[in-house]
């Protein structure tokens, strides 16, 4: 009985600690969404809160732009000083959850030798894709051949999920101005 009470008390405290202070109104984490990552772990979109994150949207069957999104994210990571590399996470959200199973996402992670501690390849629920894309300003459209048109961007979110900066992906290397913004953001005390 007492044990049960203590357990629920500690769960309650844990929940309070995770929730932290109220989210800013313009945080993209205001959207409730559940996701599965490349290792099959179920997490809430809000679980990314607490650290700055570079986020993008893609689908694994894409052969032109999507590898560039990941390549330019990796290049960005490399251009950061060592101590900043561990302070930044990457989240790539699928717009094609029907085909982007955790196994498909894990394959992408292996192909690109992603550091699974830093990189989250996420499969949202089908009904949340468009809402997430809208919050992130990502446009996409399913094509008759099963592919998607979509905007390819890297978006820097602060630790509370506010959009700090965004950069169109147009090659293997990230825009130098965006890299500077990320550096400055990570260097700033918060």
């Amino acid at each position: 009985m007492l044990q049960g009470f203590l357990l629920s008390l500690s769960l309650l405290l844990a929940a309070t600690a995770t929730a932290g202070p109220a989210l800013p109104g313009d945080s993209v984490y205001n959207l409730p969404a559940s996701m599965t990552d490349q290792s099959g772990r179920v997490l809430a979109w809000q679980d990314l809160r607490g650290k700055p994150v570079v986020v993008s949207m893609f689908y694994t069957n894409c052969h032109l732009m999507c590898p560039l999104i990941i390549a330019s994210g990796k290049a960005l990571q490399k251009q950061l000083p060592q101590d900043q590399q561990s302070a930044l996470d990457f989240a790539v959200v699928s717009i094609d959850p029907a085909r982007d199973t955790p196994a498909a996402l894990a394959e992408v992670s292996q192909q690109h030798r992603l550091d699974n501690a830093r990189w989250h390849l996420l499969r949202p629920e089908a009904r949340d894709v468009r809402t997430l894309a809208s919050a992130l300003g990502v446009r996409y459209r399913a094509q008759p051949d099963g592919s998607f048109n979509h905007t390819s961007v890297l978006i820097l979110l602060d630790r509370d999920g506010r959009i700090v900066a965004r950069s169109e992906v147009d090659g293997l290397q990230p825009d130098p101005a965006f890299v500077s913004t990320v550096r400055e953001h990570l260097a700033a005390p918060n």
Partner: protein, 253 residues
């Protein structure tokens, strides 16, 4: 006797003011959209679905806000609704006596419309679905060949609109208000046009989109449709307008 029972059941399904708007089955068909897609401007197949007979009303939206108070104007995060969201309502959960409870709800964002439709196990219509049903007048499923009817659609979104009056007839599908005093959100409004900033630059489009380029217009005579698409494309998903509402659809099982 049997027919009477059917009518009675039909009435039971629609008469209560607390039930949600009833939906009418829209049979699928071939349709040539005014908005050209990447697949070209030929006819496309629209799959059958069910559409709400009228836009979501103020009364229905009030109930939604009471059931899901995170959508009250004083609690909604700024991410999903601008400052004008429901600003004309008397209070945070009641429109008040100055607002007709049966009028289409307006000053709601795309996020809010999306959440409302989800709450009744429905969704916002895609543009293709909306345009398909809105091509009908009271007697024809595709009245777009009639230039005088088309010209009247210029008044969409104003008090002079074809469907502005409460007693305006339903269209050939049994749907009302598509050409009413309020414009309507569609689910895929954000991808109706390619990024305006990049238009004219093929390289930009190719790089920005994974795949083909954005969309353009197949029939530039349909000015009223172009006006609607231009208006919707200019919106942010958190934006609201005094004459922009929505309705919901359900995919056919």
């Amino acid at each position: 006797m049997f027919a009477a029972a059917v009518v009675w059941f039909a009435l039971m399904g629609t008469s209560s003011p607390t039930t949600q708007a009833d939906f009418v089955e829209v049979p699928g068909g071939e349709f040539r959209s005014t908005v050209r897609s990447d697949a070209g401007d030929g006819p496309r197949t629209v799959t059958g679905f069910a559409m709400s007979r009228r836009p979501v009303t103020v009364r229905e939206y009030e109930r939604f806000v009471r059931e899901q108070p995170q959508w009250r104007r004083d609690r909604v995060p700024s991410l999903v609704a601008d400052r004008a969201y429901l600003a004309h309502w008397h209070s945070a959960d009641a429109a008040g006596s100055d607002v007709d409870p049966d009028a289409p709800v307006t000053q709601v964002s795309w996020f809010a419309a999306d959440a409302y439709c989800n709450s009744i196990d429905a969704r916002l219509p895609d543009w293709a679905e909306w345009e398909y049903v809105a091509a009908a007048d009271a007697t024809r499923r595709d009245a777009r060949g009639d230039s005088s009817w088309r010209a009247r659609l210029f008044d969409d979104g104003t008090p002079r609109a074809v469907d502005a009056r409460v007693d305006s007839p339903a269209n050939a599908y049994g749907v009302r208000g598509l050409h009413g005093t309020a414009w309507e959100w569609v689910g895929d409004y954000a991808s109706l046009l390619g990024n305006a900033d990049k238009r004219g630059s093929n390289d930009g489009d190719r790089l920005q989109f994974c795949g083909a380029s954005g969309l353009s217009f197949a029939n530039s005579d349909d000015y009223a449709v172009l006006k609607r698409v231009a208006l919707l494309s200019a919106m942010e998903p958190r934006s609201t307008l005094g004459n922009l509402g929505f309705r919901c659809v359900r995919s056919s099982p």
